[in-house]
């Protein structure tokens, strides 16, 4: 092959990759947090009796889940300004990933909500709790325990989706790796290290979620 591996350039620029990774994590953290808030509201809307509440929520989930996230990223950054909505690169990407994760988390949360026995709500009502108190003290805590196993893969997917921010020059991990690649021509080395960082980070995320799952599990 005649190609000798040489990681020296990559290690020299390793700080840049770590800064990129930190930004990736930050983008994912903020977006998933906002997305979780959206997802929770939408999940309750999806199980509402009234069609006026249910239909808009279902439409939101369907539309977002049927769009590639890259299309959303490009639309928000290039098309929205033409329509008078001007956002910075970071804000635009966080907005997109929040709305995107909101749709996925809404589906995950909905599945967790419908598996909670109706009797628990009735027991809450019977002691005089208001519907909102029942949601905050009983329904949501139980729902989160129900969904933790499937939440893990969703969170990891969403973290990996931050790499699409490279398309609009957000200096996250993929963008930084491409920069090093272009400047150094060390293609293989650069992408091996960047991949290693993604795999390591996702493994840590998965371990954290498993830890949370064990800590919160209901004893039986």
């Amino acid at each position: 092959m005649g190609y000798t591996l040489n990681f020296a350039v990559v290690w020299r620029n390793f700080d840049q990759l770590l800064e990129g990774l930190a930004l990736s994590l930050g983008l994912a953290f903020v977006s998933i947090l906002i997305g979780a808030a959206i997802g929770l509201l939408v999940a309750f809307a999806l199980i509402a009796k009234s069609g006026w509440i249910k239909r808009p929520a279902a439409t939101y989930v369907t539309v977002i889940r049927n769009l590639p996230i890259l299309v959303l990223v490009l639309f928000a950054y290039f098309a929205l300004p033409q329509m008078g909505v001007r956002l910075g690169k970071l804000e635009s990407f966080v907005a997109v990933l929040s709305i995107y994760s909101g749709a996925y988390l809404a589906e995950v949360f909905r599945a967790g909500l419908i598996s909670i026995p109706k009797g628990l709500t009735e027991a809450g009502l019977a002691i005089g709790l208001t519907p909102m108190q029942i949601r905050t003290s009983i329904i949501v805590p139980l729902m989160l325990r129900n969904v933790l196993p499937s939440l893990s893969s969703t969170v990891i997917s969403l973290f990996k989706d931050t790499s699409l921010a490279a398309a609009i020059a957000v200096p996250e991990l993929t963008f930084e790796a491409r920069k090093i690649n272009v400047e150094s021509f060390r293609v293989i080395e650069t992408w091996i290290v960047a991949s290693g960082l993604y795999v390591a980070t996702c493994s840590v995320l998965a371990a954290l979620m498993r830890f949370a799952e064990r800590r919160l599990s209901v004893p039986r």
Partner: protein
């Protein structure tokens, strides 16, 4: 005679076109223990669930200590009261369910404390003291920090009763509380209910335990097809049923 606690007048309830309650009238005095018996589909559980508004109803009145439950009436129109007001009224009654319905992510004590803290606005410490007192009363003081999943059915039902009683309700509603239990666990739950009756708690029980209804009730109500068919002193009723339907029902239900 003690004062009137609960007054039900012309209670009507329908699911779609099916009429489940066709005008139920009933008056209950303070300290009474009333068992409601009848075959399934007779409307006894539905009637119980209307009293704490777990079911909406389409006609009639329910009054608890003179207070109109669930609906505002003005002239011929009626309107459901606000969720907040209904929640306040629900706290006046306590309910135990067939399926226990304990909150699985909370310990026995936390189950009892939740309503005390959130509804009665007690401090955590006050609520804990009261929870321990009531868990002790149902014989489970050693299980205060145990989760429902680690308790037997009978123990879970006793926690559920403690959770309801701790709220100091004016009236306790029991909805077939022993039906989901293994036979050997029924006794411990009935024992707890008997003790509450002896304390003078006003209770309305939907039950299939005829022997128990016979022993603890001051009055028995026999429901059939959405109306009260016969009511009276359990000893007289069980010995000399006045209606053919009750005679038939008693014949087919096991009396042991």
């Amino acid at each position: 005679m003690s004062k009137v606690l609960l007054e039900i007048q012309g209670l009507r309830k329908q699911y779609g076109i099916v009429e489940v309650l066709k005008g139920v009238d009933c008056t209950m005095r303070e300290g009474e223990v009333i068992s409601i018996i009848g075959s399934s589909g007779s409307g006894k559980t539905t009637m119980l669930r209307c009293i704490n508004m777990l079911e909406d109803f389409q006609g009639g009145h329910i009054r608890l200590e003179g207070e109109e439950i669930g609906y505002e009436h003005s002239g011929s129109s009626r309107r459901r009261k606000s969720e907040k007001e209904i929640a306040r009224q629900r706290a006046l009654t306590g309910m135990a369910f067939q399926q226990f319905n304990l909150f699985p992510h909370m310990t026995a004590a936390q189950n009892v404390m939740l309503g005390l803290v959130k509804v009665k606005k007690m401090s955590h410490d006050e609520a804990r003291v009261l929870a321990e007192k009531w868990l002790d009363r149902v014989g489970l003081s050693a299980r205060a920090d145990t989760y429902p999943g680690q308790l037997s059915g009978g123990q879970q039902q006793r926690v559920a009763i403690a959770r309801a009683i701790a709220m100091a309700p004016r009236l306790m509603l029991f909805d077939e509380v022993t039906s989901a239990l293994d036979p050997e666990l029924v006794g411990e739950v009935l024992q707890v209910i008997k003790a509450l009756a002896a304390d003078g708690m006003s209770m309305l029980l939907v039950t299939h335990e005829m022997r128990f209804a016979y022993e603890v009730s001051s009055r028995v109500i026999f429901m059939n097809q959405g109306v009260i068919c016969e009511e009276g002193d359990p000893k007289e009723m069980f010995a000399k049923p006045r209606t053919e339907r009750l005679a038939e029902f008693l014949k087919t239900s096991s009396f042991n």
